[in-house]
């Protein structure tokens, strides 16, 4: 195969993942295929050959891509192939069911001047859903060949082969954007002199969106003088409209797609399930119905299930029955019999022993709560509720003039790490970044920790409501600050909504178990380590002093001295602290009001050692220590205020 004298004309397959590219590739090529890494990358590309109407073609299957602006390495390779090869035809394979979502990329490809054939695949499923697609009309609208197929059953293959062999490159239609965008595109396109695979129009648009590969290309493609001119122009355009460019381009493309699809897709009488999913989807993002739905989710999912069942029934069973009656006594007995050294006894089963605090807290207290929380979380995640929740929060916050963007990651419990990257990626000045870091440190990034605190509070009527209210206030405050600090509409938050669907049992189980597993692996060593440290402090007689020093603060917010240790635990991780509070509460040492104050304070406290280290890495020691001090002060001030309010109003008394 390698000894082709003349390179064969190439046919390149592109498209989103899971649209049937591989199936099409196999159908076209049959047996003669090779899989190899694309030069200079670790991404595999399949190549094969086929003969159509007496001509041999080389077929290339590319990794799935969502847009011609690449993000992952796979996408980059797919785009690289388009930028470097000189194909006879490019088949853009799309899933007919999602035609509206996938067509924007078709536009991009046409705009790039590539010899596109649009392959509308999986027509069988689309039909089953009641979609009728007028491909003829679409072909007329787009100005490129459009072929409908059911590749799984080889339907449409002859037509596709014919389209490939007869492909005649005709100049593509231009889809015009809004006049201001057009003006900028023209400004750049007229300056571009080099010869590129992509049209000047597409090249300009990619340059405006800071595409690094294309920036690289013009460095070699333009002469020095022109390059400078072009680069300055690009910089000007980007500067003039830095905030909304991505969003605008994407919106305009969607608008054009709507026009292209006008009268093309007929939705005849849907099957029963679909309209309800659609309806539900709309309800969840509309503030008027979305907020009540959210409240229902919180009430049943969190309060009833996590709080009632997880933190109540399950913990009672595990901690109250199994541990207290069947596991603890033999363990303690065993240690008593075999260990004579006082210090070792203390280390194992003493007040701050590895068993007493580490294992018991992790297994009997935290795990059931977190387990039920993760189950609920994964269930909601699998239905596709989260992106809608994000959209809802964004809308509600925008309505009241705040920035929802800063709050969304917190609401959804993105990892702390993620948020740090998001922050550094999107914020420009140091001041903005520091403020954002404070907001993040303040605001509850870890969903599992939230789950534990929530479960802890659910047993006490009213406490959960007050705590939620306090959290909402914090969210509003964060939104307000963020709107002040980072004004302007940054469009990082816009996403297509994936379809809403019934959760799949196996998916939910796998996700829940993976979450529990990784959570457990994360906390168990930390809990053990914390017990060890606390034990050492106790042995060295330092702990007394530390608790003594902290106790005035703790007393100032109305808590009993015993609660001090929970805050010391809380420094290691908030869920450890929450478990400590739970312990106190079940032993009758905290009133509902005290529990609420303690929980709010703890929630606002710096989340964990890990996050502190992360902050230090990102911002340096000095800044992170100041943030730590600031956040602790703020947390205790909030606790103080809340305590005063609860005392004077007699709420929760």
């Amino acid at each position: 195969m390698a000894e082709q004298q003349q390179p064969l004309p190439k046919v390149v397959l592109v498209g989103n993942p899971n649209v049937g590219k591989s199936v099409l590739f196999n159908v076209l090529t049959g047996a003669y295929t090779t899989v190899s890494n694309y030069p200079g990358t670790s991404v595999e590309v399949s190549r094969g050959q086929c003969e159509i109407a007496g001509t041999d073609y080389e077929i290339l299957d590319t990794p799935g891509m969502y847009s011609i602006m690449p993000i992952t390495e796979e996408e980059r390779v797919a785009r690289q192939i388009l930028l470097q090869e000189t194909p006879h035809a490019v088949l853009h394979v799309i899933d007919a069911r999602n035609i509206e979502r996938m067509l924007p990329m078709t536009l991009q490809l046409i705009e790039a001047g590539l010899p596109i054939i649009l392959v509308v695949n999986i027509l069988d499923e689309a039909k089953r859903l009641g979609m009728e697609i007028d491909l003829q009309k679409l072909q007329k609208n787009l100005g490129v060949p459009v072929i409908g197929t059911v590749m799984k059953r080889r339907q449409g293959l002859p037509e596709l082969q014919q389209a490939i062999s007869e492909y005649a490159s005709v100049p593509h239609k231009t889809f015009t954007y809004g006049s201001d965008l057009e003006r900028d595109v023209t400004r750049l396109a007229t300056v571009i002199k080099g010869d590129y695979r992509f049209s000047k129009r597409a090249t300009s648009l990619l340059l405006m969106q800071k595409d690094e590969d294309v920036e690289q290309l013009i460095v070699t493609g333009e002469n020095t003088e022109n390059l400078e001119l072009l680069q300055t122009l690009v910089r000007d355009v980007i500067f003039e409209r830095r905030a909304d460019l991505h969003l605008q381009i994407s919106m305009e493309r969607k608008k054009i797609c709507k026009q292209m699809l006008d009268g093309v897709v007929q939705q005849t009488e849907l099957s029963e399930k679909e309209p309800f999913a659609e309806l539900l989807s709309r309800w969840t993002v509309n503030p008027w119905s979305g907020v009540p739905i959210l409240l229902l989710v919180v009430y049943f999912g969190l309060y009833k299930f996590v709080g009632g069942f997880g933190a109540g029934t399950l913990v009672d069973l595990l901690e109250g029955n199994i541990f207290e009656e069947y596991i603890n006594p033999p363990v303690i007995n065993f240690v008593q019999q075999h260990v004579s050294a006082e210090w070792l006894f203390e280390l194992l089963v003493g007040e701050y022993g590895l068993w007493t605090l580490g294992i018991r807290y992790a297994v009997a207290l935290v795990l059931p709560i977190v387990g039920t929380f993760f189950l609920m979380f994964s269930l909601l995640e699998d239905t596709g509720y989260f992106p809608r929740l994000a959209l809802l929060v964004d809308r509600v916050f925008k309505k009241i003039g705040l920035s929802g963007r800063a709050v969304i990651p917190m609401v959804l419990g993105f990892g702390c790490d993620t948020m740090a990257t998001m922050v550094t990626r999107t914020l420009e000045t140091v001041r903005e970044r520091i403020i954002a870091t404070i907001l993040l440190a303040l605001a509850i990034p870890c969903s599992a920790q939230l789950g534990v605190i929530l479960g802890l509070l659910s047993g006490v009527p009213g406490a959960l409501a007050v705590w939620l209210l306090a959290m909402i206030l914090v969210f509003l405050l964060v939104g307000l600050l963020a709107a002040k600090v980072m004004p302007g509409e940054h469009p990082i938050f816009y996403m297509e909504l994936p379809p809403m669907r019934l959760p799949q049992l196996r998916n939910v189980l796998v996700k829940t178990l993976s979450r529990m597993q990784s959570y457990f692996m994360e906390i168990l060593p930390l809990f053990l380590f914390a017990s060890f440290i606390l034990w050492s402090l106790k042995m060295l007689n330092v702990l007394e002093g530390l608790i003594g020093a902290l106790s005035p603060v703790v007393r100032a917010i109305g808590l009993p001295v015993e609660a001090t240790s929970a805050f010391v635990f809380g420094f290691f991780r908030r869920d450890f602290g929450a478990a400590g509070l739970y312990d106190l509460q079940t032993n009758g040492l905290l009133t509902p009001a005290q529990l609420t104050v303690a929980a709010v304070t703890l929630t606002l406290f710096v989340p964990c050692i890990a996050q502190f280290l992360m902050m230090k890495k990102e911002r340096g020691l000095r800044v992170s220590v100041s943030i730590f001090v600031f956040v602790s002060l703020l947390a205790f001030s909030c606790g103080w205020v809340l305590n005063k309010i609860l005392l004077t109003t007699g709420l929760l008394a």
Binding site: N16, P17, N18, P63, G64, Y66, I71, T72, E73, E74, S378, E381, D382, G384, F386, P387, A390, P409, L412, F414, G415, D417, T418, A420, T421, M422, M495, E496, L497, P498, P499, Q504, R506, N507, V510, K511, L513, S514, R515, Q517, S518, M521, E522, L613, M614, K617, E618
Partner: protein, 63 residues
């Protein structure tokens, strides 16, 4: 695997701890798969669970 937030497919070779994790800032072996499109931290199933998930997907596509 599809991202739990944006629903896009996460390339199969992205995984925890194999050096290809797109997560740049977690130390000590991040056990999450961060979606390259939206940043959402998806849970990273272990070997056994991953197999289960794959079987699930196969069944789905075979029907």
């Amino acid at each position: 695997m599809n991202c739990g937030l944006c629903g896009k497919e996460i390339p199969a070779d992205l995984g925890p701890g194999d050096g290809k994790s797109p997560c740049g800032s977690c130390r000590g072996g991040c056990r999450k798969i961060h979606c390259p499109y939206c940043g959402y931290a998806n849970p990273a199933p272990g070997k056994f669970l991953r197999k289960m998930l794959q079987k699930n997907n196969e069944e789905k596509t075979d029907e």
